[in-house]
Every structure is written in structure tokens, then in C-alpha cells.
Amino acid sequence: MSGWLASGMTTANLKQNALRQATPWLVPALIVVVWQALSIAGIVAARVLPAPTAVARAGWELLTAGTLIADVAISARRALLGFVIGGGVGFMLGLVNGFFPWGARLLDSSVQMGRNIPHLALIPLVILWFGIGEVARLFLVAIGVAFPIYINTYHGVRSVDTSLIEMSTTYGLTTWQLFRQVILPGALPSILVGVRYALGIMWLTLIVAESIAATSGIGYVTMNAREFLQTDVLVLGILLYALLGKLADVAARGLERRLLAWHPSYARA
């Protein structure tokens, strides 16, 4: 902490920094306040949109009942597992096709054709193949994630500055060294863009996949709430999805900041 202060942050700077951190939350906070006010005033019926306090209470009840954390964890685990599987396949394929011209010639067209099939439209087929269990859900998330990661990885590898590659060959770098020291880092900005985009698709797909027929997870909670007209739990579920999505985005942004610290746009003097 003292080092942080010693780096030139005065009390005035700290206050400024705190204000800057708090500003993005001003609008959401305002929305919540207005929402609460409208609910109390009765302008918005409880059945249509429960008050924030009602939602919070529902959340608290589920939390103390011991199921909320487990459900959130299950949803998160599904999403991440699907992301790793689909992202892994997309990443590998993108690397191979980007690095080897024969790979691109052989596979890229096919992958592009596959990309244009909206993966959510495959749901009936997926249910037929895999039933309504975990595999079906993971498969959907994986497919949804694979294509943006593939495209951005492929593009990233292809657009590495060729003059850097030429320079590297004059320094006697082996193919593996070239890949690890030049191509991969060079493709990283594009790959991370793909990751951010894929994260959004991951959540979307998860929400839909969980609504098919889940026995656990946030989707299960909201489906039950729909059956029993518990709109407050429904809104809670939506907010939880939004919160998890925001967390994923923050994580991705943190990853970007660390891996792309060298990039002029991220550079802090």
C-alpha cells in the first residue's frame, strides 16, 4: 500500500480515483432507486415487475435455504466447461489453419459453413442426439463458443506482421520458437477479442440450454419460478445471469490488461 502511495498518488488523486471507479455504477444505482420508487408508488404492479427489495428478499431466502450458491456454481461450471471445450477446439483449429496453408485450404470453408448455422437452431437435433442431460447443454455452449474463437485466432495468426517473421528467421529461430515468441503473442490481441465475444455467446447459449430441461442451475431456478409465478425469483435469476456475465467480462478485461500490457493502447506511463 505504501508503495502505491509513494508512486505519486496523493489524497486528492485517491479521491479522484475512487470517483472514477464509482461512476460506472451511478446509472445502475439510479435505475434501482427509480425502480424501487415506482414500485412503492404502485405505478408498477408487483406481478409485472417486483420491487428491488422483493427481489433481494427472494435472493436472501434462497441463499439461506442453501440452494442459491450451489445453483449459481453449477451454472458457472457448465458455462466454463463448455467454454473450455469449445474454445479449445476453436483455438487449436484456428492455430492450425492460420499456421499451415494446407489446413486453411482444407478446413476453413467447412468451418465457415458450420459457422453460419445458428447453433441455437440446432437444439431439437441436439436433444435428439444427446437427450436433455448435461452433454447436450455442454455441446451447445461448446459449439456456440468455438466459432468466434476460431475466427479470431485464425485471423490473429494470419495478420502477424510478416516483417517480424522475416526478421525472426534471420535470428535463427526454430519453427517452434517462432510460433511461441512471435506468432502466438502477435495473434493474442485478436484472440482476446474472440474470447470476449465468445463469453457473451457462452452466457446466451447457457441461458437457453438451461431452459430446455435442467434439474439444477440458475435456469432451473427461473423455470420453477415461472411455473409458480414467482416473478421476484425470475428477476433474481436474470440479475444473476447479468452479474455472472459482468464478472466474466471483468475477468476477460483483466486478462487483456495483463497479457497486452505491451500494447500502446494499454500502456500506462
Binding site: 516483417s163 522475416e166 528467421t169 534471420t170 535463427g172 503473442p185 500490457a261 505491451w262 500494447h263 500502446p264
Partner: protein, 269 residues
């Protein structure tokens, strides 16, 4: 010339090189002795960069032979390093790691000393994006020197720099060349730079060697000295193709007399 040198000889014999329909080199013979500093000048598109790339092994000639220390040149050879018009630093590595590119793990300390040689020892931890153009080229020079090459090929390395930085860098290049004793081949469009640095100047014109001139001026070169400016004028005339006109104009000679006068000038320079 020095008796002991760590340089290797470069020989190009009867080189022909064409790009699609354009004949760039039409039978070029160049021999560079070990430890010699040769400048290759000529107008844009005369083939000087092509010649250098053939010497580096980055391209292969249509016919003719190139030999670096008696062997065909290989881009990754530890004997030879190249500097390009742009620094070609890896943006995702810090300066010191750029200088250490291609160095085996045990020899990273040599990167530090190479960086100190170009006067940037304290910038080792910086990202390349915050350096100026001149500083980046200095890092590129350090990188080339770090592995102790026995031949250094320079492809217009100072072309993108401002005049003052260029002068500084010329002094630096001369100093490290005298210090290390490698063979140097410098491609430049700046005739003054060629006369300032080289033992020998080769002018390429119409795909062939038009002039091969020994520079016997003492080092450090005085740019204002009479022999310097005369030599510069001679080379410039050859490059611009105004040799005959100028000598004739100067001495009110006929073209034949001008030819003989120029030859005498070349021999005594």
C-alpha cells in the same frame, strides 16, 4: 585495413535476379573482404536491397553464386545478422528481451552488454512502443551485435531517421564496427553516409556494378575535407548519371576528355 579481424568474406558472382518481368540484377560481381566496410549505393529500384537480401540468403538468385565465408548464406546463420530499415522489434517483449532474441539461455548477459554499447543500458525494462525511432534502431543494432556476428548486413537502417539522429547513428555504427571488426555491407541512398562510413563504395546502375571505388580517407572522416566532398560528388554523379556532364562542365572538356579526367579522379581518391 586491420590485420586481425573477426569478419568473414562475402562473395557474389555473376548474380542475376528478376522479379516477374523486371530484370533487377544483370550480372553483379561483388567481393567483400573480411572486416571490410562496403557501402552499396544507387537510385531507388537499382537492386541494392535485392543484392543485400541475396547475400543474406533471404532470396535466391536466378543464376550466379553467393558465398558467405565460403558457404551459401542461410538466414538463421549465427555468422550473419541483418538490420532493416524499420527496427522490427517484437512489441510484446521488453527492450532487453528483444536484444536477447535468439540468444541461447546461458548467454543472456551479452544482451545487457550489447544494450550498453549502444547507450541504452537503462532502457532495458521498457516496452518498445515508448521508444523513439532512433532509439528503436539502436536497440535493433544491439540485438544484431549481441550474438557477435561476423558479418553485418544493413539495409538502409538510417533511412527513416531524422538528420541529427542519422549522424549520431553513423558514428555509433562506425564505432562498433571498429570495435568488433565484423564485415559490414551497408545499403544506403545517402551518398554522404556511404563516404563517411565505407572503405569501399559500390554504385549499382542498370542492374550492374557501375562504380567500385576505394575510399582511402582517414578515420574519423571529416565531412568538410576536400577529398571527402570530391569523392561524394563523384559518387553522386555516378548515381545520378550526371558524371560526364559535370566533369565536362567543370573543366570545359569534351566527353572523351571528361571520361579520362574522371578515371584519374577515381584512381587518386
Amino acid at each position: 585495413m586491420e590485420v586481425t579481424t573477426s569478419g568473414v568474406g562475402i562473395e557474389a558472382t555473376a548474380l542475376h535476379k528478376a522479379f516477374t518481368t523486371r530484370q533487377v540484377l544483370l550480372g553483379v560481381d561483388v567481393t567483400i573482404a573480411p572486416g571490410e566496410f562496403v557501402a552499396i549505393v544507387g537510385q531507388s529500384g537499382c537492386g541494392k536491397s535485392t543484392l543485400l537480401r541475396l547475400m543474406a540468403g533471404l532470396d535466391t538468385p536466378d543464376s550466379g553464386v553467393v558465398a558467405l565465408a565460403g558457404e551459401p548464406p542461410r538466414p538463421g546463420s549465427p555468422l550473419m545478422r541483418m538490420m532493416f530499415q524499420d527496427a522490427r522489434l517484437l512489441p510484446w517483449r521488453r527492450v532487453i528481451d528483444n536484444v536477447g532474441l535468439g540468444l541461447p539461455v546461458g548467454r543472456q548477459a551479452e544482451a545487457g552488454s550489447a544494450l550498453a554499447e549502444v547507450g541504452l543500458a537503462e532502457r532495458g525494462g521498457d516496452w518498445p512502443s515508448i521508444l523513439s525511432g532512433g532509439q528503436r534502431q539502436r536497440v535493433a543494432l544491439a540485438r544484431a551485435l549481441a550474438s557477435r556476428p561476423r558479418a553485418l548486413l544493413l539495409d538502409e537502417p538510417l533511412g527513416a531517421l531524422d538528420a541529427l539522429t542519422r549522424l549520431e547513428m553513423q558514428g555509433l555504427i562506425e564505432r562498433v564496427w571498429q570495435e568488433h571488426g565484423f564485415t559490414a555491407a551497408l545499403v544506403t541512398h545517402d551518398v554522404e553516409e556511404a563516404v563517411a562510413l565505407a572503405d569501399r563504395i559500390i554504385v549499382l546502375s542498370a542492374g550492374q556494378v557501375a562504380l567500385d571505388l576505394q575510399v582511402n580517407l582517414p578515420r574519423p572522416r571529416d565531412h568538410a575535407a576536400r577529398h571527402f566532398t570530391e569523392l561524394k560528388a563523384t559518387v553522386l554523379d555516378e548515381v545520378l548519371g550526371t558524371r560526364h556532364e559535370r566533369v565536362a562542365r567543370m573543366h570545359a572538356l569534351s566527353p572523351a576528355q571528361a571520361d579520362r579526367a574522371t578515371e584519374r579522379l577515381v584512381r587518386t581518391a
